[in-house]
Symmetry: D2
């Protein structure tokens, strides 16, 4: 399993996000308190939007806590949307192509959780990826295949619908292979304008997910927190575990729901997987 942070708001120095908070993602990389594992040392990645058409991605196989390049970049990159992820491998190799966030065009994707018995269902899931996208899969994780399924099923046009269809497909194929609870997930995805975050698991006992209270309320609660004075009112954090112990600052994303952080009013909705409308023909070896 893993830990992640998604930020959207006024341009933020990545250092303020990753290193400054008491229980920052970097601190969590060695001592997570809410994660399935306490140590998340199997690589990490950050994604951000700046110059250029596509987001920048920096990924490394070293533990985040001792990566000097990450510290350098954090002190020199400011961005309005930042994704950061630390990995605890559930078996697949520790290599850059298995580090989150994954990118396709302007889209970023990161995942905490697991597709259970992935070795059994991997081929069927990979077959369901659009043939024109198949060769873009570079790594060997369940999370990346999940991303390409969502892209196949319309992520760029309708993120909540596409994720619902992808999860429905994963559950259908998993159950066909005898997996009782095929998926466990918190997911964040963005196109550089809005951020979508999902919390769901087949057993309805999902990993934790939190979003931050709006900034104007936070400023009243914590006038001494300097970073808040620089944050716009629309700034928002979504995190797998709180970055600081601040009463009133963090709200639980409810079980089986998803949120949209966007220009204007943010939204929170129930999330329901959508099973494939027709049987999936799984081709055998010809």
């Amino acid at each position: 399993m893993c830990r992640w942070v998604a930020y959207s708001g006024s341009p933020l120095l990545i250092d303020d996000l990753l290193y400054k908070p008491t229980h920052s993602l970097i601190a969590q990389s060695m001592h997570s308190t809410l994660g399935a594992e306490t140590t998340n040392g199997d690589g990490f990645g950050i994604g951000w939007y700046g110059v250029g058409d596509t987001p920048g991605v920096f990924r490394s196989v070293e533990p985040a806590w001792n990566d000097r390049n990450l510290r350098e970049l954090a002190r020199h990159i400011e961005a309005p949307i930042v994704f950061a992820h630390i990995r605890a491998s559930s078996g697949s190799p520790v290599q850059q192509t298995n580090c989150h966030p994954f990118r396709y065009g302007r889209w970023l994707w990161m995942h905490n959780g697991v597709i259970h018995e992935f070795a059994s269902v991997k081929r069927d899931l990979a077959l369901a990826v659009d043939p024109s996208l198949y060769a873009h899969i570079e790594g060997s994780t369940d999370s990346e295949v999940f991303f390409f399924l969502a892209l196949t099923l319309g992520l760029e046009d309708d993120p909540p619908g596409a994720v619902a269809r992808a999860v429905g497909l994963i559950e259908e194929i998993g159950r066909r292979h005898g997996v009782e609870h095929p998926i466990q997930m918190t997911v964040a995805t963005t196109n550089g304008s809005s951020v979508w975050a999902f919390r769901y698991s087949s057993e309805h006992d999902s990993r934790t997910l939190f979003y931050s209270t709006d900034v104007s309320t936070l400023r009243e609660l914590y006038p001494e927190l300097e970073v808040l004075s620089r944050a716009s009112d629309e700034s928002r954090l979504i995190v797998s575990e709180p970055l600081r112990d601040l009463p009133g600052a963090w709200n639980v994303v409810p079980e089986s729901s998803y949120g949209i952080v966007q220009s204007g009013q943010d939204e929170l909705h129930p999330f329901t997987p959508q099973a494939p409308s027709r049987p999936i023909a799984v081709p055998a070896l010809s």
Copy 2:
């Protein structure tokens, strides 16, 4: 493209194979003279048979020429069969899971060459891998998919036949995608007893491959070469380019042929790809 060396014979210190010769594989990693690229710095790997049921494999993403661990291991590991490979990526990421030799059970496999337009044919080839083997593919190279196709088509029972069928399949699928010359290859594979080495390309203009003259002749030619005094008469090297400039020591493996290095008389045969006997149904997205 890449460079490789396969050794079979009396137990040899890997150092004698990889570092001692004038134009050793390590020297070739920086200055190959016969390769498609002069620099082969995109990772390397060695495989050897020793204690344990399966061969040992050591792979790294660093250039071989400055990998201190490789130098250490070379000085401390002796083995009767050694595979060594240095990589020049034709596009896929530099990561351990893309380094040769690949292993499955007792088998090792390494490849110099390319499946042309691999991004176009990758999905079809991966689909042709036996479903029970599919999840064992860990990296993203053409070479590893080629290995799993050979395993699917009988490598463990009939190596020359399985490779002929795998190449036939690759050519069939490539041509269906409009690729004129689908494959370029020299390949070595072993089960720890015998070594099979293949030289072939669809355009019949294959990368170089050489095998060493038998040891007793070499000893007469080069009495001053100390390593020969320790080598058994059956010791044999197969290399993508000669390790030393020794007249009479190296013989060209002819175009479109394969050799077997084994206990008893070694063999050299023509190699002909074998097209699939019935049409391959390539499943589309269901």
Copy 3:
């Protein structure tokens, strides 16, 4: 701080030492229970004696728990003396040259602990290293400088005396710089025949160190432990924390003492640092 294991005895597959025990060093790399840190993910190293004049050393900056090469080597290397070390950096960079064990000629050295305020005393300590040895210091750790001080002060002829003199020197220079408790240490060193292990700290509150009960007693206590049936009577383990929870198997190395594991009777003695006999002239910038 760090965790380490030293083995001496009948040839042992490194796998049996590093992976098989319940609370193996690899398990400790993620969840140490007695260490100053629970996570020891800042690189690792192993050293062993086999073919060749000098011991082999394999060191890597990856966490030990996910290093595939370490797992491979562990399954293929057997040796009568094995050192293994996992690192939790106390500040110096994570790089191979900072990983233990360190080697000089036939000697290996590994250290758990710290020279306090090393940045302040580093120059004085480095100056005390024999000029002919100075350029052999490759990394930037306190542990390596400590090793070269011991070499300077006679390690190859009289290990206990040399370590006593090195610790005396470190304490003298530390106190001159106002450091109350200059050193905290458990150290193991070997020449390939005997192993010396030290437990000491200036504040007399040293990190834990244990040695295994003799094998014949262990076999009586734990007849079901298969690895014991293959171990010679003289086999011995020295560890910074026990590898299994086996009552009667582990004995505390007392505070301020050192042990010798050797052919014949092993020994345990008090350890007392030996202050330099004459003032150390610390040269300033000329």
Copy 4:
């Protein structure tokens, strides 16, 4: 030896500097034409000035040609001063702390060349580094010790004078150790406002160094080069070998000289090492 590029001018996307030119530094990493080695694959680094008080530094041990993170950063970082360096180790380990540019406070430093017989003179040179700076030396290269000597001898106040004194010291100590030609160098250093570049060697046969013709002239010569339309008139490149084959674009920095790229008129001066005014007392082991 190595290859490097220093840029100063209007903010430039690093991609335009490192990847776009025909014979870019990345191309040189595999096929340098003027370097002492054709392959410069032993790590690389970039330094740039942006947000934050100190320059950002990104260094990696991978060959530059296949480092995906470098490509990402190049496409997302713009800066008015950029240093980039690719390394061909002359023996010291390939590790981040040995990669250029080195940084101290606001200063960056990179070096192509060698202090000959460094192992012999390393201790004496390190002793000449100011004791307060000594512990800041993190790696094991001659180039970093050279940087700290220059800092010791006044780099921050008088860069040309400090480099002249550092080179004088290196020559004095080298000759005392019987080294005929103690140093070979091209060096670039910057404080974020001006850039100083030096070309010198004890044998007066220095590695190549070039500076670009002023931008207004270049625009007249090459109106089709789009990058020039975005460059300010004061933009300047200093390179160890030309990035494109453009007649009239590159001027040789003469043997034994140094240049200053600064706001206002750039300057070019002769460079003469300055021997220490009084004998250097080299302390022995006390």
